[in-house]
């Protein structure tokens, strides 16, 4: 059981949870995630550790209600508990002084990008951030990202904040203007990461992505999270989730993410029905 100590609304359907998880907080590093199950009938789903406080024994999770399981989690309130919470999982990303790092975050990708930006900044790097969302209202953790960035740019689909369009457009013009960029970190939907990697390939800049295939155990036991990187079959939960973006087979990732489309629709439908009955 993991107790919800605090819950904050970040945007429509996006909540930040502060969870009592002393053992996980003790070991958490940027790049780590947890597997959470809301209740006995729930699914096991992976969520990034957005931040952690070792003294308080807490971790922060940001959850976007996109389907049945995330809706169930987002319906929980302060004082409620997640039935299961396992972590920290995955390999942390290496935090060292590289020079100038561009952090690209699309949608909920801010959640995994933020801890990386924060600790890369602490390690003495210059951080240029590019954050994108559908609308200004949907753009989360703006203050936090501003705080850890030396420069920051925004992109929204409707132009309500920053440039109208994609983060990758900003990335392209930025890399075109500047020679100083040593590395790019790009996290968001698979299409966005793929597009970002296409841009950085052109400029030959190392790019770290964080992959989000469907997971169950998160411990390397089921193989459901397998991804192809540099022609090799790897398990994202234990070998990743961060990988060299230029070596990732994104087409395969996107195909595998769609495995349960029909069932997910059915589950969400039932979820909504159950709630109406309540």
């Amino acid at each position: 059981m993991a107790k919800i100590l605090d819950k904050r609304d970040l945007a429509p359907e996006i909540d930040l949870f502060t969870i009592d998880a002393p053992l996980v907080a003790q070991k958490a590093q940027p790049g780590h995630f947890v597997i959470v199950r809301a209740s006995e009938t729930g699914e096991r789903i992976p969520l990034t550790i957005v931040d952690y406080n070792r003294d308080e024994g807490t971790i922060d999770l940001v959850i976007q209600a996109v389907g049945c399981s995330t809706i169930e989690l987002c319906n929980l309130e302060q004082g409620d508990e997640f039935l299961d919470l396992l972590g920290p999982l995955g390999e942390p990303i290496e935090i060292k002084e590289i020079g100038t790092v561009v952090c690209v975050a699309g949608g909920l990708g801010v959640a995994p990008v933020y801890p990386k930006a924060k600790y890369l900044k602490e390690a003495g790097n210059k951080i240029i951030s590019i954050v994108g969302a559908q609308t200004e209202e949907m753009l989360i953790m703006k203050d936090e990202m501003e705080e850890v960035s030396d420069e920051i740019y925004f992109a929204t689909d409707d132009g309500t904040l920053g440039e109208k369009g994609f983060v990758t457009n900003i990335l392209d013009s930025l890399l075109d203007e500047r020679d100083e960029v040593d590395e790019v970190v790009a996290v968001g939907p698979a299409v966005m990461m793929k597009a970002a990697c296409e841009v950085t390939t052109e400029y030959d800049i190392d790019t770290i992505v964080s992959l989000n295939p469907i997971m169950i155990d998160g411990t390397g036991m089921c193989g459901g999270c397998r991804v192809t990187v540099d022609g090799e079959r790897l398990f994202a939960c234990v070998d990743g989730p961060a990988f060299d973006g230029h070596a990732v087979d994104f087409e395969e990732l996107m195909m595998r993410q769609s495995h349960y489309e029909d069932e997910e629709e059915e589950a969400e439908h039932k979820c909504n029905l159950d709630r109406e009955v309540e």
């Binding site: 009938t41 089921c222 079959r233």
Partner: protein
């Protein structure tokens, strides 16, 4: 000689539509008839066949006296999980293989009797159990499969304060996430684990040792010895083209979704599973049989087993192969997959195989399967389940560099003491390799517990 009693079974037509247990246990009458067959041999050859040395003639005699509770105590003195072993032990290769009656006719049905005793005992439920107040040194057990459970039970009985750490949300290991309900009801696993908790063992689920806590952390928390029983949970793949298509599962994933996450109750339980009409399972061990029979019960119309050798070489228990045949699982023998073919949307559509013939015995002693040139053919499939074996999960050794392993990632232990390369850390069960049965894992847990006791007394 009286005829061996056999357990009645749910009819195959009926059972393929439910997840209830296939074999009904003995009735009391059947158990008495079977117990009478035992000759009470003085030299007890049957006991030599049991890896944990259950006192077989003694408990059978107590069955004859209708003292089931005493019979249960007799078994439990050696075997912490009798209801489970009575169901899943390969008895035909172990205790029953040595039974004297088997030399001329049919051996005593020792497994079925053991199951009967365990089930009778749990039906009684009269006994008031008191928790032990254990005060000895703290011992940590990593992994809650049969090896960890046995080591935990034995050490708790010796008075140690035992904590069992499990990565998944519920204890039991393969008994929980692998072996399906129709062969081993989960209520039985839960009950056996309750008995072990009553001995004073504390279970901490959702703790991945190596990540949540390191071996170093366990020392710091005051544990004086550690037993590692992390099993062999890493799924092997074939490395064939198309293996990452949608609809291709490892047996671990398929069975975990079905058993642990109860996908067979979707959408009440939220974990989805794809079954489709036509399922092919690659491999022919217990895991393959379990995957095939689970797929059938989840609604598949045609399920086949694809195996590169012949029926004689199939590693699954004979009983389970027969059950599978009765359920009309199609055994496609002497066939080896070569390629998995998908459609435009990335879903598996066909499994390409090549026909095989058997040649000279290979290093495993079994005839070597040789592909027949130009004999490729395809079978239409919606789902392919890869059940060709598992290796030890490398996570804990990777995070604990001092823990020495073989090149196949098995933890190396001393043959006699089960101690690993780290003093005070012991290991057993599938993670050290060996025969990969429930009872062998339990045997390891028992031996390791003895060594841990010795180590802690020094």
């Amino acid at each position: 000689m009286a005829k061996r009693q056999t357990m009645t079974k749910q009819s195959s037509e009926k059972r393929i539509n439910n997840f209830n247990e296939v074999a009904n246990g003995f009735t009391k009458e059947e158990a008495m008839l079977e117990a009478k067959r035992c000759l009470q041999c003085k030299n007890k050859p049957c006991v030599d066949g049991c890896p944990v040395e259950v006192p077989i003639p003694e408990f059978i005699d107590q069955v004859l006296e209708e003292d089931f509770s005493k019979a249960s105590d007799t078994i439990k003195a050696k075997n912490a999980l009798p209801a489970i072993c009575g169901r899943v032990c390969p008895q035909e290769e172990q205790c029953e293989a040595e039974c004297i009656l088997g030399k001329k006719g049919e051996p005593v049905a020792i497994g079925a009797l053991e199951r009967f005793v365990a089930d009778e005992e749990s039906n009684e439920k009269a006994k008031v159990k008191v928790s032990n107040k254990n005060s000895g040194a703290k011992v940590a057990i990593v992994g809650s499969g049969p090896s960890g459970l046995t080591a935990a039970a034995d050490l708790a009985k010796l008075g140690y304060q035992v904590t069992l750490f499990e990565a998944l949300s519920e204890p039991g290991g393969v008994l929980r996430y692998g072996i399906p309900e129709f062969r081993l009801p989960k209520s039985i696993v839960t009950e056996e684990i309750e008995h072990i908790k009553e001995l004073g063992v504390e279970v901490q689920a959702n703790v991945l040792i190596g990540s949540t806590l390191s071996i170093e952390d366990l020392w710091e928390k005051g544990y004086k010895a550690i037993f590692v029983g992390t099993g062999a949970g890493l799924p092997y793949f074939l490395s064939l083209p198309g293996e990452n298509l949608n609809g291709v599962y490892s047996s671990n994933e398929f069975l975990t979704r079905a058993n642990l996450m109860k996908a067979y109750k979707f959408p009440e339980y939220k974990t989805p599973i794809t079954v489709g009409d036509k399922v092919a399972v690659v491999g022919a061990g217990n895991v393959a049989m379990d995957s095939a029979r689970t797929a059938l019960r989840l609604g598949a119309e045609e399920v086949s087993i694809v195996y590169r050798r012949s029926r004689n070489e199939m590693p699954a228990r004979e009983e389970e192969i027969e059950n599978a045949e009765e359920e009309r699982i199609d055994l496609k023998l002497l066939r080896n997959p070569t390629r998995i073919i998908g459609n435009d949307e990335g879903w598996v559509e066909e499994l390409e195989c090549v026909k095989m013939e058997l040649g000279e015995p290979d290093s495993s002693g079994r005839p070597r399967p040789i592909p027949i040139e130009n004999s490729e053919f395809t079978i239409p499939v919606d789902v392919v389940i890869i059940a060709i074996g598992q290796g030890p999960n490398p996570l804990l050794p990777k995070k604990t560099p001092e823990l020495e392993t073989t090149k196949w990632d098995n933890i190396i232990v001393d043959d006699d003491t089960y101690q690993t390369s780290i003093s005070g850390v012991f290991a057993g069960g599938d993670v050290i390799g060996g025969s990969a049965t429930v009872i062998a894992a339990m045997g390891d847990g028992r031996q390791a517990a003895k060594s841990i006791h010795k180590y802690l007394q020094e």
